[in-house]
């Protein structure tokens, strides 16, 4: 099963050696054969929101989420079950500072 692991309330810049630690973590995911993809995001003050209502496009700056609730990035893994996904999340260095939300991917949606 694929799981999206969303990292909230933590950016790798906030961790000492954050860059190295996250790199090592991704290498570990690859070595375990579960890695699908991962990306860090710029800080929420770079966010832009788009909405289309009655054919009108509304573009707004933000939202500036509070630091503790800001999405900082994601890892996508493909593993056996939720227990394995939880173990992978526990290993993530960003879990020590922020929180990781594990969401199962709704498979077979696009064909």
């Amino acid at each position: 099963m694929r799981y999206m692991m969303l990292v909230y309330g933590c950016h790798r810049e906030e961790l000492p050696d954050g860059y190295d630690q996250v790199n090592a973590y991704v290498k570990d995911l690859i070595a375990r054969g579960v890695f699908v993809g991962a990306d860090p995001l710029h800080l929420p003050d770079t966010a832009t929101t788009v909405q289309v209502r009655s054919d009108e496009t509304l573009i707004t700056d933000g939202p500036y989420a509070e630091t503790h609730e800001a999405l900082g990035g994601y890892f996508m893994v493909d593993c056996a079950n939720l227990d394995e996904a939880i173990e992978l999340a526990e290993l993530c260095p960003l879990a020590k500072l922020g929180s990781i939300e594990i969401r199962p991917v709704l498979e077979n949606t696009f064909r």
């Binding site: 056996a80 939720l82 227990d83 996904a85 594990i102 199962p104 709704l106």
Partner: protein, 406 residues
């Protein structure tokens, strides 16, 4: 009783567990087992040679029908493609009840959901029954159950006994669910619910014979349950352990619980449930509060507070110390506990010791504080009585007030 009902009662959990293993979906397993029972009620004139195999076969066929009708990509897990619902493997499947229990008590589900799911899937209670016990409307409870089952399926919660390195933490989650069911039955005087918890505990202990904590939990519940008849006055008031009429204690249960705790402790892997059961056994053996082996209770609470330090356990230790060594020593310990300022039993335990030390105005103040915090009507009546006695200068009989053991 109709033969179907009898087979269903006796083997329901095993059949449900087997179907869930094969179908990979608890909700689908339950629905198709219901279908099979309905069909059996209509068609059985004599009981088939192997009624369980009959029901499982029909249930599996109905599950396939349901999947086809749903026309959605069910099952989601590749290993449970429809073709693999082999009858042989289904009927000859071993006992999967433990997998069912661990799945229902998975920590990725909310505690409320774990409790409800265990009572429904493992114990066979209906949403209406569970709702009544937990003061939740039936519709809300049904919704909670459906949501939990879908999360198990969609989030990929494994239908399995967890791997060894996860087992200790996950077993304690299972035991906590069972004890929570028991406690709910115990505090609300719901004997049926308490008995259900004891049955669940016995099932787990029999499926996991190498886990003394499972046995310890059964012992604890059986011993607490032995006091059921003595815990309430005819008018419904709560009776403290020290004031209970011990002739009302169920002696058969005391003997059973005591021998269970001895069996568990003989494994020499003590844990919180075994220690609490041992404390309950010491109480159960005493003919009166004064006759209680308080030094033994102090020793057990000390051990318990080292293993699972919690302010409530320290409070119980303080009360036991007061009984073993005197109110001054007990009060000194209780006054050092932090974090129980909102807990009425901390205030009422202090109040009682202050009263016994002759510090009446401080005692009245503490009873007053306890009264502000207590929510149960019978607790409030008791505290109000004590408060008034002190205010009016009446000298009540001099007995220790034990908080209900945790």
């Amino acid at each position: 009783m109709h033969a179907v009902e009898q087979v269903f009662r006796e083997h329901r959990t095993r059949m449900l567990a087997a179907l869930t293993r094969v179908l990979g979906d608890l909700e689908l397993a339950e629905d198709s087992l219901q279908d099979a029972c309905a069909q059996a009620l209509r068609t059985w004139t004599t009981t088939p040679d192997d009624p369980m195999a009959w029901l499982l076969t029909v249930a599996r066929n109905r599950a396939i029908d349901r999947i086809r009708r749903a026309r959605r990509p069910v099952p989601v897990r590749p290993e449970v493609a429809v073709d693999s619902y082999s009858l042989d493997s289904l009927v000859n499947l071993g006992d999967e009840r433990l997998s069912l229990i661990f799945t229902c008590c998975h920590p990725a589900l909310s505690l409320e959901a774990r409790v409800a799911l265990t009572l429904q899937a493992v114990a066979g209670l209906t949403a209406a029954q569970i709702g009544r016990s937990f003061l939740v409307p039936e519709a809300t409870m049904a919704q909670r159950l459906v949501r939990a089952k879908r999360k198990i399926r969609d989030a990929g919660i494994a239908f399995a006994v967890p791997a060894d390195h996860l087992l200790p933490a996950r077993l304690s989650s299972v035991l906590a669910v069972v004890y929570l069911v028991f406690t709910q039955g115990y505090v609300s005087f719901d004997q049926a619910l308490a008995s259900e918890a004891v049955r669940l505990g016995k099932l787990i202990a029999s499926l996991m014979p190498d886990e003394p904590e499972a046995l310890g939990l059964v012992a604890l519940m059986v011993l607490q349950d032995s006091r059921f008849a003595a815990r309430r006055t005819p008018s419904g008031d709560f009776v403290l352990l020290a004031d209970q009429d011990r002739s009302l204690w169920d002696r058969t249960a005391v003997v059973e619980g005591t021998s269970l705790v001895e069996r568990a402790l003989s494994r020499r892997q003590p844990g919180p449930y075994q220690l609490q059961a041992a404390i309950a056994a010491v109480h159960a053996q005493a003919l009166s509060p004064e006759d209680t082996d308080w030094p033994q209770i102090v020793a057990l609470y000390t051990e318990l507070s080292v293993r699972s330090p919690s302010p409530v356990i320290l409070l119980n230790l303080g009360v036991a110390v007061a009984m073993a060594s005197g109110p001054t020593e007990g009060l000194a310990l209780i006054d050092r506990i932090t974090g129980l300022d909102r807990y009425h039993l901390w205030h009422s335990a202090r109040a009682d010791l202050l009263r016994r030390l002759g510090r009446a105005s401080e005692a009245a103040e503490a009873y007053g504080r306890a009264l502000e915090l207590a929510t149960e009507e019978s607790d409030r009546r008791f505290l109000k009585g004590r408060f008034d006695e002190l205010r009016l200068g009446v000298n009540p009989h001099d007995l220790a007030r034990l908080p209900e053991d945790e």
